[in-house]
């Protein structure tokens, strides 16, 4: 083998070795710069007493921010409010999504169009959703309240007297289709021959669901629940626009509290600490869901 050929082979093997690295470098660099670095920086900040707008010296306080947050009654109240919102919204979304998925599992005329219409709320920006529901629910000029008035003869103040319910309704309206899509995908994956066998064996609808359908769709349902729970925990825009956490602090979710800490009060260190507490909570929930999903053999 000539020296030239050897060198070409070596060059090619080097290229083969480094080419993938070159290709992924920009993506890794961007991730490091835009995700990992700010995350580490924020973690560092969470151990300091620092107000970004008032400047001054950053004072190391160790775990004080975490201790103050975890021992604050206000924070626990916000977590309870958030839990109330997440559980009601996700549960309703699951039930409605389930119903819709079974509806669209059937073949009927105009199915595609109906499905497109049903999934449309997901495409609307949450801020816009919040805004138009604010008008729809307005107790003086709102459409919904007008019809409720015609039915009940009372001015029902949805955004103040039933604020949590209003926030849940808006979230359910927007995100039930998401649940539906996951469950529908699961339903489509149920083997036809199993369904036919169940029919031949004259299974009741409930037995058919329990023995044939549920085992197939369960992993997807778990995944959908995981996504929705994580998302509902982070809900900010719709609630901020609809009620701004009111009346009083009735709908003050933890995300709203975090926003105020970070961008109204500029208590940067404390806000970072709260963000990490939330992150840990989300990781724990994710593990819980994944374990539940794994138990049925995903």
């Amino acid at each position: 083998m000539t020296r030239q050929a050897t060198s070409r082979i070596r060059r090619r093997s080097l290229t083969e070795k480094y080419f993938p690295i070159i290709l992924i470098t920009p993506a890794v660099a961007i991730t490091l710069f835009l995700v990992i670095f700010p995350l580490i920086w924020a973690l560092g900040l969470s151990f300091y007493d620092y107000n970004v707008i008032r400047g001054g010296v950053m004072r190391f306080v160790g775990l004080d921010n975490y201790a103050r947050l975890l021992s604050s009654r206000t924070i626990w109240k916000r977590f309870v409010t958030t839990a109330e919102f997440v559980v009601s919204a996700v549960l309703l979304e699951f039930l409605i999504g389930f119903g819709l998925a079974f509806l669209f599992y059937q073949q009927f005329r105009g199915r595609r169009l109906a499905m497109a219409l049903v999934t449309m709320p997901m495409l609307i920006a949450p801020v816009a959703t919040g805004l138009f529901f604010r008008y729809i629910f307005d107790a003086t000029h709102g459409v919904v309240t007008y019809f409720l008035y015609l039915i009940t003869g009372k001015h029902i103040k949805l955004l103040s007297e039933h604020a949590m319910l209003s926030c849940v309704i808006v979230d359910v309206w927007q995100w039930s289709p998401f649940m539906m899509l996951f469950i529908l995908a699961g339903l489509e994956a149920v083997p036809r021959h199993l369904l036919e066998s169940a029919e031949i064996d004259r299974f009741s609808w409930f037995t058919k669901f329990r023995v044939v359908i549920w085992p197939t769709i369960r992993p997807l349902v778990m995944l959908a629940l995981l996504f929705r729970t994580m998302d509902a925990l982070r809900t900010f825009d719709t609630v901020y626009i609809l009620t701004e956490g009111g009346p009083g602090t009735r709908t003050e979710l933890i995300s709203l509290h975090l926003y105020r800490l970070a961008f109204s009060f500029f208590r940067t260190g404390e806000a970072c600490a709260l963000a990490f507490i939330l992150l840990v909570l989300v990781i724990l929930l994710t593990n819980l869901y994944l374990r539940m999903a794994r138990r049925v053999g995903v």
Binding site: T15, F19, N51, V52, I53, R54, G55, R134, D138, A139, T140, H141, G142, T145, H155, K157, L159, S160, E161, T243, E244, G245, G246, P247, G248, T249, R250, E252, R260, F263, S264, F265, F266
Partner: protein
């Protein structure tokens, strides 16, 4: 030209070496960059060429003029009613920034950040004259470009660029209560050293009303040793009422029979007469009717309400209107010298103020718990309410026939006061509006200050007034010309001297949120007024103690002891001009 199948097949079969692939990608990338640069340069020149020479802001203002009728000209006389006829005309005022007399090419463009609303756009229009002015006065033409930010995010945006120590915008609008936060963080300039050397600026200070100096321009409030800005958009809360209802003979007769006094009909009945908030409460109660009831001789198709104002949780909606109730009942939020809140915000007077504020909500539209300026205007414009208490800066649309059903039957007057148990009549109201301040990180502070001088010249101020801006200079506000310029200018001008603001300390956002949450909870009957105010005092105390106010604050950032605070003045029922004057 299309490809045949054979060519397509060849293309799929063709193997590209890495070198070829990278080479092709490189060529594409370079072509894209070159195309981008060419398009950018082209776009820049095209944009410059297409830039309009002059912009026009048109504002429709409906002027309602009440003329006392002479016997000979009155065609309809109503027994028991004031003999007046109402002549209404709609005037379209157009403010145009004409092309500069001598075209000048700016050497520098300064950014001015403002909320995105009429005053912001109008400022941009007037600022178009600045290059010519600066060329003449400073020897270098400087342009001013507006950065208009939606109201909802204006605080976040401005504080974000300040936290990043950005050099631009050189000038920006600060809400009056941000002044402490921005000054303590070193983001805005103390202007006294410059003012002391500049007789023109010294003279300018004297042209502002005392209350505007106190709340728009100084930190701490009233400390003239620390001037941090100049009033830009003045704004006050005023009363707008349905004159057609107030002058209707049946309504007048029924009201007098029920309450024993007349409904106010003319401006002077409201101001300077000592019209009381409790009388306004009576009026609100009187006009609250159900669908099917009669109102001014007509059968109502929908429920009608007495008063609409701010009861919502948004930003400072409650703090401003409840603030007025607090002040007229003779109380203030705290003692700015000691930071004491106990016995102030939860005093008996404060509780009475909150009970009164809550009572007003009984006569408000159902959406009251969410109402701010927009909802308040909407209720009036739909013809569903007799009286509103709202910001002057948001009133123009109420006089626009295309959106308001009542554009020609409403009148604007200053807010009432209240005669307390001590026999003192107190008329105070919460101030709105904003000053303009100079970014301490800007390298163009001198030019920014020059802009302020330019801004307060008579020609610019005239344009500002004609376009609907809230003029802050008392020599202009007090003129007959200004008072007659819009249907609300007279009430605005008369209201300026009794304006009051809440804290402008660095920790104001937390103080404000506590007010919004606790008072809203009381309005929604989640707490009693007493409980809400006790809880509020507790929260305020915690914030103040954590902040170490006033001990940890440098002397220049504390309210000077020995001088009258807003709390002293309000409790004593003195005029607002007394704030900052030595205590006797």
């Amino acid at each position: 030209m299309g490809m045949n199948d054979e060519q397509k097949e060849d293309l799929f079969k063709r193997k590209l070496s890495r070198r070829e692939a990278i080479g092709t990608a490189g060529k594409v990338a370079i072509s894209a960059i070159v195309a981008g640069v060419v398009a950018g340069v082209g776009g820049y020149f095209a944009g410059s060429a297409a830039a309009p020479g002059a912009t026009t802001v048109t504002q429709k203002v409906t002027e309602t003029k009440t003329v006392t009728a002479a016997a000979a000209t009155v065609t309809k006389t109503v027994a028991g009613a004031a003999k007046t006829v109402t002549e209404t005309k709609t005037v379209t005022k157009t403010v145009t920034a004409g092309a500069p007399t001598t075209p000048v090419k700016p050497v520098y463009t300064m950014i001015f950040a403002s909320p995105e609303w009429l005053p912001g756009r109008l400022t941009g229009l007037i600022a178009k004259k600045f290059p010519e002015w600066s060329a003449r006065k400073l020897g270098k033409p400087i342009a001013v470009k507006m950065d208009l930010i939606p109201w909802t995010v204006v605080h976040d945006r401005i504080t974000t660029f300040l936290a990043a120590k950005s050099e631009e915008p050189s000038i920006f609008i600060s809400d009056s209560q941000w002044l402490g936060e921005l000054y303590a963080g070193g983001h805005i300039k103390r202007l006294n050293p410059i003012i002391e050397k500049d007789p023109e600026l010294q003279q300018l200070i004297n042209r502002f009303d005392d209350s505007l100096i106190t709340y728009y321009m100084t930190y701490p409030q009233g400390n003239r040793d620390c001037i941090v800005g100049f009033g830009h958009e003045g704004d006050v809360l005023v009363i707008v009422y349905r004159e057609d209802l107030f002058t209707h003979p049946d309504e007048r007769e029924n009201f007098k029979a029920e309450y024993g006094y007349d409904l106010p009909t003319k401006y002077e009945d409201w101001y300077p007469a000592q019209f009381d908030w409790y009388q306004l409460r009576d009026i609100a109660k009187f006009f609250t009717r159900k669908a099917g009831d009669e109102l001014a001789g007509k059968r109502l198709e929908a429920d009608f309400y007495g008063i609409a104002t701010h009861f919502g949780k948004q930003y400072d909606a409650i703090a401003c209107v409840f603030g007025t109730m607090l002040y007229v009942h003779g109380e203030y939020w705290w003692d700015p010298i000691t930071g004491e809140v106990e016995g102030y915000i939860n005093s008996d007077r404060a509780v009475k103020a909150l009970e009164f504020y809550k009572e007003l909500m009984k006569y408000a539209p159902p959406n009251a718990p969410e109402a701010w300026y927009d909802e308040t205007n909407a209720a009036l414009q739909a013809g569903r309410v007799a009286v509103i208490y709202n910001w002057c800066g948001f009133l123009p649309s109420n006089f626009d026939p295309s959106v308001s059903k009542v554009y020609n039957v409403i009148k604007v007057v200053p807010p009432p006061g209240h005669k307390g148990d001590d026999g003192i009549f107190r008329r105070y109201s919460t101030i709105g509006g904003q000053p303009m301040v100079i970014n301490a990180h800007s390298k163009h502070a001198e030019e920014a200050l020059a802009f302020m001088k330019f801004w307060f010249e008579p020609e610019q101020q005239r344009m500002w007034a004609e376009g609907g801006g809230g003029v802050c200079l008392k020599d202009m506000i007090r003129t007959k010309w200004f008072k007659e310029l819009t249907p609300y200018n007279r009430a605005y001008a008369d209201s300026i001297p009794f304006q009051v603001d809440f804290w402008n300390v660095p920790f104001y956002p937390e103080m404000l949120l506590a007010v919004q949450e606790e008072i809203h909870a009381a309005l929604m009957e989640e707490k009693s007024p007493k409980q809400a105010l006790d809880d509020l005092a507790k929260r305020h105390k915690e914030i103040i103690e954590r902040e170490g106010y006033p001990e940890k604050y440098p002397p220049e950032q504390r309210f000077p002891p020995g001088l009258k605070t807003p709390a002293d003045v309000i409790r004593a029922g003195e005029p607002m001009s007394e704030v900052g004057k030595p205590k006797k």
